[in-house]
């Protein structure tokens, strides 16, 4: 009985934030925090099983339809993530995008932030197709407004446009999807009753394409890197942590509600594997810190899709238990990725705030100036690489278990599961490489430019949210068994056959125990080694560097050289562009060499195709030139063609 009031408080808080926020930052922050806390409480009420699914229908018509909201376990899972990241981002933006630094856009930023959170919440709650579409569209628009908050840069505007165009291509699919759904079922109502209608099966592909664009599924991810890199960092955090999860939500939701096609599992798991491997390969090759993080989101969506695809395969092969394992892993990864990716984007934001650059080859040695950010970023890097004892490992472990069990069970699905498990391992190793690069090149070593040497740590409002997110990462890693019933309930909502939640069939409690012991041992070992070193005598000296006496920051390994070996393996995908100016003559004036990994899919695939379409349209436009005589000729030609069609009987 408590969910309704909590959600009303949340909605009211966000609305008040939208109305009053632009002028009153403190009130806005308070209102947003209250609202997100309330919605988090509502989501947890459902997730912990205190209350069954919450439903509400209005008595008035909105756009010809009765409003219908529903909060079930799947929605609640995503709503909880939205609440945490929405609140943390609001707190982070207090100092990061303050009136003092951005007098022009900070007010707008608050307005659209509340709007974005509200609309995403609405998308999660909607149980009416028409209203879902409206909320979806508004959510996209809020996202655009936030990306282009600092709209003076050409790159930012281009990124915003690309986001808007790609999102609308996706929305087009969704329009088709929902209207076909409505016409085949006779109503806009959404819900588990759709599963009974076999006619809806082919619509799954439309939903996959439409939601896939938002989720950044690999070949449809083109908008994602530039939008995430150019948006303000707290916006990047919520876009990457939550907004792309809305796409995942759509895929999860409708793969559960629609009767999925036979090939659905195979296609989804293949998309996931491709996204995981190629996404992280692109991430490794980036020199821009935020772009690296953005591509890593493509990878993590791939990981989630691998789990979901395995779940679909499991459901198709007699509701096998391994499918449930993979699904639980995927759902848990939704949370985990939201948490650590927001943490990492906040960290990148602090770096950007302090130094004014995102280029890793110009950063370095920041840990002396920003010890908090450095340690929290390192924690996030460990988590995102899927290393024990943190949360990323728990969810990847569950997905692995699902995939391995499919192989052990000798199910036909093993032909997908076993190769994908190997791909997942390679993606994990590349993620480790990427984040060793991102963290260590940014925070360790010597400063590469002067500007970096004068960096400063962000304030308590910037560190605080990062601490909260980092603590959540550690908590999930150390006590995963507590989450099993929660996520198990969501899996039950997805596939009723798995609803009979048994006690954890996997030994999550054992894993949690091992993680706790590991964490304690790590702490003990670090302290012990530190004490021993101090007792033996600790002397500071230059980095040895094999005897070189005057090393400078510029002599360190750069971001580009760090990914050199692996980039060579993916040359056929990257199409790396080199521009070199060689030194000439006996006293060369200057030389430079720039290596750039282009947005291959966008520039080499979609760009040329788009240009071709444009040329074709231009050619067709020549038909329209304003001469009356020609128009009459068209008419006559059209009539003749029609009559020919009738005469030959082709129009029957």
């Amino acid at each position: 009985m408590i969910v309704g009031p909590l959600l009303s408080v949340a909605a009211l808080g966000l609305l008040a934030g939208m109305v009053l926020g632009p002028r009153r930052p403190r009130f806005w922050l308070g209102a947003t925090l209250v609202a997100t806390t309330a919605s988090l409480a509502a989501a947890l009420t459902i997730l912990l099983g205190f209350e069954p699914t919450w439903e509400w229908s209005g008595a008035f018509r909105l756009g010809g339809e009765l409003p219908h909201l529903r909060l079930d376990a799947i929605s609640a899972l995503f709503l909880a993530l939205l609440s945490v990241v929405g609140g943390a981002g609001a707190a982070y933006s207090r100092d990061y995008w303050s009136d003092h630094h951005y007098p022009k856009s900070s007010g707008r930023g608050r307005l659209w932030w509340s709007g974005l959170v509200l609309m995403m919440g609405l998308v999660l709650l909607e149980a009416n197709g028409l209203h879902f579409l409206i909320a979806w569209e508004l959510f996209t628009l809020c996202g655009y407004m936030l990306i282009t908050l600092e709209n003076r840069g050409r790159k930012v505007r281009a990124a915003g446009w690309l986001y808007l165009a790609a999102s609308h291509a996706g929305t087009l699919c969704l329009f088709a999807f929902f209207s076909l759904l409505a016409s085949r079922t006779g109503s806009w109502e959404l819900g588990p009753q759709l599963r009974e209608c076999a006619m809806l099966t082919p619509l799954f592909w439309l939903a996959l394409a439409g939601f896939g664009v938002k989720a950044g599924v690999f070949p449809l991810h083109v908008w994602l890197p530039s939008a995430h890199a150019n948006a303000p960092s707290h916006v990047s955090a919520i876009l990457s942590g939550v907004a792309i999860k809305m796409g995942v939500y759509g895929i999860v939701r409708f793969s559960g509600w629609l009767p999925p096609p036979v090939q659905a599992g195979w296609v989804v798991i293949a998309l996931g594997a491709v996204g995981a491997l190629f996404g992280i390969a692109f991430a490794f090759a980036q020199n821009d810190l935020k772009r690296l993080l953005a591509y890593c989101s493509v990878e993590n969506v791939g990981v989630i899709l691998i789990g979901l695809g395995a779940a679909l395969l499991g459901a198709a092969h007699g509701d096998a238990v391994w499918g449930r394992l993979a699904l639980v892993g995927a759902l848990l990864h939704v949370w985990n990725h939201g948490l650590f990716k927001a943490l990492l984007f906040f960290g990148a934001g602090s770096v950007l705030h302090a130094t004014g650059t995102r280029d890793m080859s110009r950063l370095g040695g920041l840990w002396t100036k920003m010890p908090w950010t450095a340690s929290l970023f390192a924690l996030g890097a460990l988590a995102v690489s899927g290393l024990p004892p943190l949360n990323g490992f728990v969810s990847e472990w569950l997905i692995y278990l699902g995939l391995f069990d499919a192989g052990i069970a000798h199910s036909p699905a093993a032909w997908a599961a076993m190769p994908v498990a190997i791909v997942l391992g390679m993606a994990g190793a590349l993620a480790l490489a990427s984040f060793a690069k991102a963290g260590a090149l940014t925070f360790c070593g010597a400063p590469r430019t002067k500007r970096v040497a004068h960096a400063h740590e962000g304030g308590a409002w910037m560190i605080g949210p990062m601490l909260v997110l980092g603590a959540a990462c550690v908590a999930i890693g150390l006590a995963p068994a507590l989450l099993w019933p929660v996520v198990g309930r969501v899996a039950g909502a997805w596939n009723p056959a798995w609803a009979a939640a048994d006690a954890a069939p996997v030994q999550l409690a054992t894993l949690g125990g091992v993680h706790v012991v590991l964490a304690l041992l790590v702490l003990a070992a670090v302290l012990f080694l530190l004490r021993r070193s101090l007792a033996n005598g600790l002397r500071r000296g230059l980095t040895w560097d094999c005897g070189y006496a005057a090393p400078t920051g510029r002599m360190q390994y750069t971001a580009g050289s760090f990914s050199g070996i692996a980039a060579g393996w993916f040359f056929w995908l990257f199409r790396t562009e080199n521009t070199a100016q060689r030194p000439h003559g006996p006293l060369p004036a200057g030389a430079r060499r720039v290596e750039r990994v282009p947005e291959t899919v966008l520039e080499k695939l979609i760009g040329p195709v788009g240009a071709g379409v444009l040329r074709l349209s231009t050619a067709v436009r020549r038909l329209q030139h304003g001469r009356l005589q020609s128009y009459i000729l068209y008419l006559v030609a059209g009539l003749a063609a029609l009559s020919a069609l009738v005469l030959t009987g082709g129009a029957r």
Partner: protein, 303 residues
């Protein structure tokens, strides 16, 4: 409960004490092939004791992470070793999926080593780190294929289930693949030369150039535990130790580890280090060997 903990501590002591023996044996074999007398087998113990008493020279750039890296890496490797069952003795704490924890603990150790290396801002250490993380992508694929083949063949997901009972038909393939992985993961010839002093050509050694004193001792000891870990893993994956009587099983395990170690020494004496360009090729081969072992296991299970 108490007994389990005591037993675990006993096993831990066994791992920690025996591990530094292996590099000594490898060096002895190398010396023997070259016709030299060579350093004593216990040389690494002396080195570790000496390093443990020495002071630390710390780069001016290094953060506390530079000291934490070796500590975390050491704990991760030793933890992974403890997960491993020892023939008839089984594992201390076996559970479904512990094999993945083992793989990822090794990855954690790698992350920490690389992070600590990059703390110094030296280009050499950067080079070593790049090689380490890049080649790990291929070894990871090979290890996963090998583990999958063991899981599919023995129909289990816990290390104790997949290692002890029986060796598969693809054991030869698996042996070749895992031995190559062992050489690569432990930075032995032909992937890396642990004795070289030419920084440009090293992987592991290049990453630890700036370490000294107790942290270096932790790194060296961790490396020896890792070598022992991989030898034990290889022997148990390939030989049907479960088919022997308990005591004989222990004997076979110890003998197998010795043979593996001598094999490493022989490879090191007879083979030159490969050019770095050939490393991916060799690792791909190792991956394919493990992949075909998986295929054999799959076909064997289907029949």
């Amino acid at each position: 409960m108490l007994i389990t903990i005591l037993y675990g501590i006993l096993r831990l002591a066994l791992w920690l004490l025996l591990a530094p023996l292996l590099p000594g044996i490898v060096n002895k074999v190398k010396a023997w092939v070259a016709g030299r007398r060579g350093p004593p087998v216990l040389q690494l113990y002396y080195d570790l004791a000496r390093l443990w008493r020495k002071g630390v020279v710390l780069s001016t750039l290094a953060s506390p992470g530079f000291l934490a890296g070796p500590a975390v890496g050491w704990v991760a490797i030793v933890g992974a070793a403890l997960l491993l069952p020892l023939g008839p003795a089984g594992s201390v704490l076996g559970f479904r999926g512990d094999v993945l924890l083992l793989i990822y603990l090794l990855a954690l150790a790698r992350f920490c080593t690389v992070w600590a290396a990059l703390e110094t801002g030296s280009a050499f250490e950067g080079m070593g780190s790049v090689r380490e993380v890049s080649y790990a992508v291929l070894t990871e694929a090979a290890i996963l294929a090998a583990v999958l083949s063991l899981c599919v063949h023995n129909r289990g997901l816990a290390l104790a289930e997949i290692l002890a009972p029986s060796a598969g038909a693809g054991a030869t393939l698996l042996a070749a693949g895992l031995f190559t992985v062992l050489l690569a993961e432990n930075c032995r010839v032909p992937f890396d030369d642990p004795n070289t002093h030419l920084e440009l050509t090293m992987i592991h050694e290049a990453m630890i150039l700036d370490h000294s004193g107790p942290p270096l001792a932790a790194i060296l000891h961790g490396a020896s535990v890792k070598l022992l870990l991989f030898s034990v893993l290889l022997v148990q994956a390939v030989l049907p130790i479960g088919a022997f009587a308990p005591l004989a099983g222990i004997g076979v395990l110890v003998g197998g580890v010795l043979v593996t170690t001598v094999g490493v020494g022989l490879v090191e004496s007879l083979l030159a280090r490969f050019a770095f360009k050939q490393v991916p090729f060799l690792l791909t081969l190792a991956f394919l060997l493990c992949l075909f072992a998986l295929l054999v296991a799959w076909k064997g299970g289907a029949a």
